[in-house]
C-alpha cells in the first residue's frame, strides 16, 4: 500500500484529504507508481471528484507535453554515434597512484626534514638535486597530458553500439594507454625520456607510508558527505 507523506501536504491547495486520498496519491497515480489496489481506490475517488479528475488530466497532459518537448533534443543526443574525444581522454587519464597533492606534500615534508636534520651544508647539498628534481617533475607534469592524449585516442572505442559482444573488443583498448604505451611514447624531447621513469618513482616513495593514512586528502570533506549518503 502506498504510504502517504503527511509532512509534505500542509498546503491549503490540498483539498483531497478525504478518503485518505491526498495530493501525493494523485501524482503517484499520474506517474504510474501506485499498486493496483491503491490505483483502484484513486479511480473510485476520481469518479466522485471532478476537480481532482481535471487536475489529473492536466498532470497527464503535462507529462505528455514534457516528453514531447524534450523528445527531439534527447533523440538527437541518443543518435550521436561518436563520443567526444575529450570524454575518452578524461577516462583514459592514467590513474594516479595516489593524489598529486599528497605526493607534493610528502616531497615537501621530505625536503624540510632533510634541510633541518642535515644542517646548513647538508641542506645545501641535499636541496640542490632535489630542486632539480622538482623542476623536472614540474616539466613532466606539464608535458604529460600531451603525450597521454597523443597515445590515448581509441578510435574504435564506442559505447553506443549496445550489443554486448562488443565489450571484449575494447577491454584491451582501455587498458593500453595506462600500461603498455609508455615505451612507444612520442616523447617531445629526449631530456625526459631517460628521466621520466626515474623521476616519477622518487616522488611516491617517501610518502609510501602516508599513503594509507590519508588516501584522498584534498577532497575528503566533500567525499565524506558523499560517503554517508551513497548507499543505493
Amino acid at each position: 500500500m502506498y504510504k502517504k507523506d503527511s509532512d509534505t501536504d500542509k498546503s491549503p491547495s490540498n483539498i483531497h484529504i478525504f478518503d485518505g486520498i491526498g495530493e501525493a496519491d494523485l501524482h503517484a497515480y499520474v506517474d504510474g507508481h501506485l499498486d493496483t489496489a491503491r490505483r483502484k481506490e484513486v479511480e473510485y475517488y476520481l469518479r466522485r471528484n471532478p476537480d481532482a479528475a481535471a487536475q489529473i488530466r492536466d498532470y497527464a497532459t503535462l507529462n505528455t507535453l514534457l516528453r514531447e518537448g524534450f523528445a527531439e533534443e534527447l533523440a538527437a543526443i541518443d543518435a550521436q554515434e561518436t563520443v567526444p574525444p575529450r570524454f575518452l581522454a578524461a577516462l583514459n587519464r592514467p590513474q594516479p597512484r595516489f593524489p598529486v597533492f599528497a605526493a607534493r606534500a610528502a616531497a615537501f615534508a621530505f625536503l624540510c626534514l632533510a634541510a633541518a636534520g642535515g644542517g646548513w651544508m647538508a641542506a645545501k647539498h641535499g636541496a640542490a638535486p632535489s630542486e632539480n628534481q622538482l623542476q623536472e617533475a614540474a616539466l613532466h607534469s606539464v608535458s604529460a597530458p600531451e603525450t597521454e592524449t597523443a597515445v590515448a585516442p581509441l578510435p574504435d572505442f564506442n559505447p553506443y553500439p549496445v550489443p554486448v559482444p562488443v565489450v571484449p573488443d575494447y577491454v584491451p583498448a582501455i587498458q593500453q594507454p595506462a600500461v603498455q604505451t609508455a615505451p612507444s611514447l612520442p616523447v617531445p624531447s629526449t631530456e625526459y625520456q631517460g628521466g621520466e621513469a626515474d623521476i616519477i618513482r622518487p616522488l611516491p616513495d617517501p610518502a609510501g607510508t602516508a599513503h594509507d593514512a590519508d588516501a584522498m586528502p584534498p577532497a575528503s570533506q566533500s567525499g565524506q558527505t558523499e560517503t554517508e549518503t551513497l548507499s543505493f
Partner: protein
C-alpha cells in the same frame, strides 16, 4: 595492486557505457545552454566519478550514482555560471516571443517548455527526472540527495506552476495563485475550521 588496476579498468568501462545517459541528463540540467557547456558538465562528471569511484558501493545501478555525481557537480560548479550567462542574454534571443503562431497545441507546448526551462533547477529536475526520464520517487530522491517527501512537494509545486501556465493559454480564467481553491472547497475548509 593488480587487483585495483583491474577494478579501475572495469569501473572505467562501466562509466564509459553511461556517457550517452549522462549527456541526456546534462541536457535536462542545462536545457538552455550550448552543447559545449553541457559537454563540460559531462566531462567534469566523468572526472569526478573516476576520482570518487570508491564511493560507488556496487549496490544498485551505476547510472543512478553517476546521475547523482552529475547533479552535485551541476549544483556546485555549473549552475551559477549558467545563471550568469542566461541572465546576461538578450531577452530578445529567448525564443518564446519569436515562435511562429502555430496550432494551439503547439503554442501550449512552447509555453510549457519555456516555463519549465525557466524554473529553478531544484524543482525542475524533480519533475524532469520523474516525468521525462521515468525515475521512481525514491530514485529521484537518491539522485538529488533529498527526502522523498521533498521530492513529492517539489513535484507538486512544479506541476501546479505549469498547470497554471497551461490554463493561462487555453483561455480558462483561473487565478494562478488560487488554483485549486474553488468556492466549494473554501466552504469546506471553513466548515472544517469551525468544527
Amino acid at each position: 595492486m593488480r587487483n585495483t588496476d583491474d577494478e579501475y579498468t572495469e569501473v572505467r568501462q562501466m562509466i564509459a557505457r553511461e556517457i550517452p545517459a549522462l549527456r541526456r541528463y546534462a541536457h535536462l540540467l542545462l536545457p538552455r545552454a550550448g552543447q559545449d557547456r553541457k559537454d563540460d558538465l559531462v566531462q567534469d562528471t566523468l572526472e569526478r566519478a573516476l576520482k570518487k569511484r570508491h564511493l560507488w558501493r556496487r549496490e544498485g545501478a551505476i547510472r543512478s550514482w553517476l546521475y547523482r555525481v552529475q547533479y552535485s557537480v551541476f549544483l556546485n560548479k555549473h549552475y551559477k555560471t549558467h545563471l550568469r550567462e542566461v541572465s546576461s542574454e538578450n531577452p530578445a534571443d529567448i525564443p518564446s516571443a519569436a515562435m511562429p503562431p502555430g496550432q494551439e497545441k503547439n503554442m501550449e507546448l512552447q509555453r510549457v517548455m519555456e516555463a519549465v526551462k525557466n524554473m529553478p533547477p531544484r524543482r525542475r529536475e524533480v519533475l524532469l527526472l520523474i516525468a521525462v526520464e521515468g525515475l521512481s520517487y525514491d530514485q529521484a530522491a537518491a539522485v538529488m540527495d533529498i527526502p522523498v517527501g521533498t521530492v513529492r512537494s517539489r513535484l507538486s509545486r512544479a506541476r501546479e506552476e505549469l498547470r497554471a501556465e497551461m490554463q493561462k493559454n487555453t483561455g480558462v480564467t483561473v487565478d494562478p495563485g488560487d488554483l485549486t481553491e474553488t468556492p466549494e472547497s473554501y466552504k469546506r475548509h471553513k466548515d472544517i475550521d469551525n468544527v
